[in-house]
Amino acid sequence: MTNSMADIAGQAAAMLVIGSNTTEQHPVFGTMIRRAVRTRGVKVVVADPRKIDLVEFAVLHLQHQPGTDVPLINGLMNIILEKGWEDQAFIAERTEGFVEFKAVVEQYTPERVAEITGVPVEQLYQAAEILATNKPMAVMWAMGITQHIVGVNNVMDLANLQMLLGNMGVPGGGVNPLRGQNNVQGACDMGGLPNVYPGYQAVTGEEARQKFEAAWGAPMSAKVGLTVTEMIPGAADDKVKALYILGENPVMSDPHAAHTRHCLEACEFVLLQDLFPTETLAYADVILPGVSFAEKSGTFTNTERRVQMVHQAIEPLGEARQDWRITAELAQQILKEGDRQVTGGAYAGWQYDHPAQIMAEIAALTPSYSGVSHERLDRGAQLQWPVKGADHPGTPILHVGQFARGKGKFMPIEHVPPAELPDEEYPMLLNTGRVLYHWHGGEMTRRARGLMEIYGQALVEVNPDDADRMGLNGHQRVRVTSRRGSIEAEALVTDRVPPGTVFANFHFPEASANELTIAALDPVAKIPEYKICAVKVEPV
């Protein structure tokens, strides 16, 4: 997020929430938005194919067809330009590429956009007016925007919108992806990505490579590595022979589960470090028991780049060990012998007594974390990165006065339809996601008794019209089949989903949506198109 949740809830005059089921997936921020609506009358526009709970608090719900985010956003920008609502000073001073961008947006006339998206022309005008004339306006999104083959395009188009309106670098504005996992932001910041070292220093950059070679005392590969969506399939065609998996459950969380199982099965050696015997465990060769957040110390970085302490509350259970210890011990063990020698380097070693020492190493090598330390956090410092030094207060809002890259670049974006749309054989569209009471593959929440009491089995949301047509009576089970697999689950008949669409979650192994999803990837981000594939639905 370029901004903080507090400044958005406290200062935005309008909000566009697109592809984020905020009250279920970021619940406390969801309540902050509801409060802002109640106490300050903030105008919220929700753009979502589903009638999510937040719609209750919205002035307008744009129920666009799944996979039509770019035409929708282009259409809104077309109207903004038509009405002259753009921020000309901001565009002139802080951006480039406007002319090329404008040429593309001009082709997305309200009539054409209404046809592609299914959103009536009047609603497009209403939305454009609300979003453009109430300032500042904040844009929030989540996986509804990114989990598409055009995920990157969607994000860039939302950035276009905010530059067009001059809503960047101001409290209550900005482009704000809501990061899903508790520490997905931190995992990225720490270089848990195939293309960057900690702090987004590119692995292909000469300078960064030399820096880390010197620090870690070994030659580094200059080649960008494989993403998770390439790594696992890589096991099937023998490109990948071993996997070291920490706290992830690909069988539940990756698309096209049957293929995932096939790939893991083909892998020569799988080392799994986790809390539970997950669905992936069947394919492992060695299991190392790690610990939960309650049994270790360290930091998580939240969606607004805020680094916060995790404090150990109980001793590791059984013989489980803290995950940082396990990795360090394994590293030392491997480095004892073999072809790869580690020599010199201020941070080449693996002797850590406490995570605070690891943070000191991170700070030394990561400019955006250079002022972060456990000691400072424990003194109560509120730190949002970049934290450029021990006295630097952190950065609650990014891009104030200037973009990181200098000028903000408008990107002309064209509509590209989804990889797999309904056809005669698979006439319905499957959308997938999570529900309030569960988390991801359900490894934790299926082991939480009360949560299971409230939401104890997979439910497939079906629109009442479709239910009627299929002869469902509300409590019947359905079979949902795609080209890749089939699941059976109870139907939840609800107008949360539009006619022609069903929605399923991936919390329960006996009926996981990822048996059905397609492994079609965004060409740049390599994100699978979880949000759209074609299915047929029948009562059982």
Partner: protein, 364 residues
Amino acid sequence: MTKIVNVTIDGQTVQAEEGQTILEVAQAANIHIPTLCYHRDLTPTGNCRICVVEVEKQRFLQASCVFPVMEGMVVHTDSERVIKSRRKTLELMLANHPQDCLVCDSSGSCDLQDLAYEYQVSVPAWGAKGARYEADSDPNPFVRVDFNKCILCRRCVLACNEIQCRDVWGVAYRGFDEQIVAGADVVMLDARCESCGQCAAYCPTGALSDKMSHGLGRAHQVTKVTTTCSYCGVGCQFDLNVKDGRIIGVTSNPDAPVNGMALCVKGRYGYDYVHHPDRLARPQVRQYLLDGRPKVKGDQWVEVDWETALEIAAVKLREIRDVHGPDTIGVLTSAKCTNEENYLMQKFARQVIGTNNVDHCARL
């Protein structure tokens, strides 16, 4: 410009902004006024009458949480009349409250109990006729409802309405029968409750409490450890309540930077996975690895000590690295783990293995 006024509280003259309440001004001046229905996060309603003070030139005692200060106002927070009134109010509340602090989960974290102690008020001889409501009357798996302990302060109503914006609780019936109800007097979940537990967190007594913690330990028996939620990226903080090496509950920490007192159902009540019997307790390896045989798919699991497991894993990874090359190894780090652990995982991939094949579930 806000107008500055001079107010005298218990003989101390202080400056305040016009429109501030007496309570706010007193708190700023470190003058203690007891409260019960008041909470700094919620709109003051002045309905419990515990925070009453004497304002000179006013005939009646005034609820300080709602009464605004004015120029020249003289306030007594501790006069005999005030104390008498507070005692009477407490006596009336206690007359209608079960005397079961001995077995109440909230004993030690109960504002009513603290006030009874401060003012040395016990249940009057004429009061406490026995239970009027069923204890634990709602099937919600997380919020324990016992309206016998309710003092009708309405904090739950406001918490659900103003913090959660879900409007589950309301007040129904009249006079002695007045009662807090969910929706049109239905069970909480049917009144669209999201089980966030905000109402229980703001309840000053044991009327609404955390069902999962029932009978497991009270405030003075637990150690509270402030930490960050392990579910979503909002980054709420709260206190894990620990007793005898077990987490027995989660309580709000009002100083949490992102969320204050607010949490969602997973953060507040989704912690029992930590102690689930499924937890992996010891390292395990496949039998074929111990025998030094080639891979046998689905071979039997054998529990081993850490040394053996780490040695086997290290030998395998080293061998694959040295024979097939570093890029045939993939490392999946975890968005559920800490920054420190993620840093080590990518250092492991890049330094120990020599590959950039490191990723996590950000895309998934």
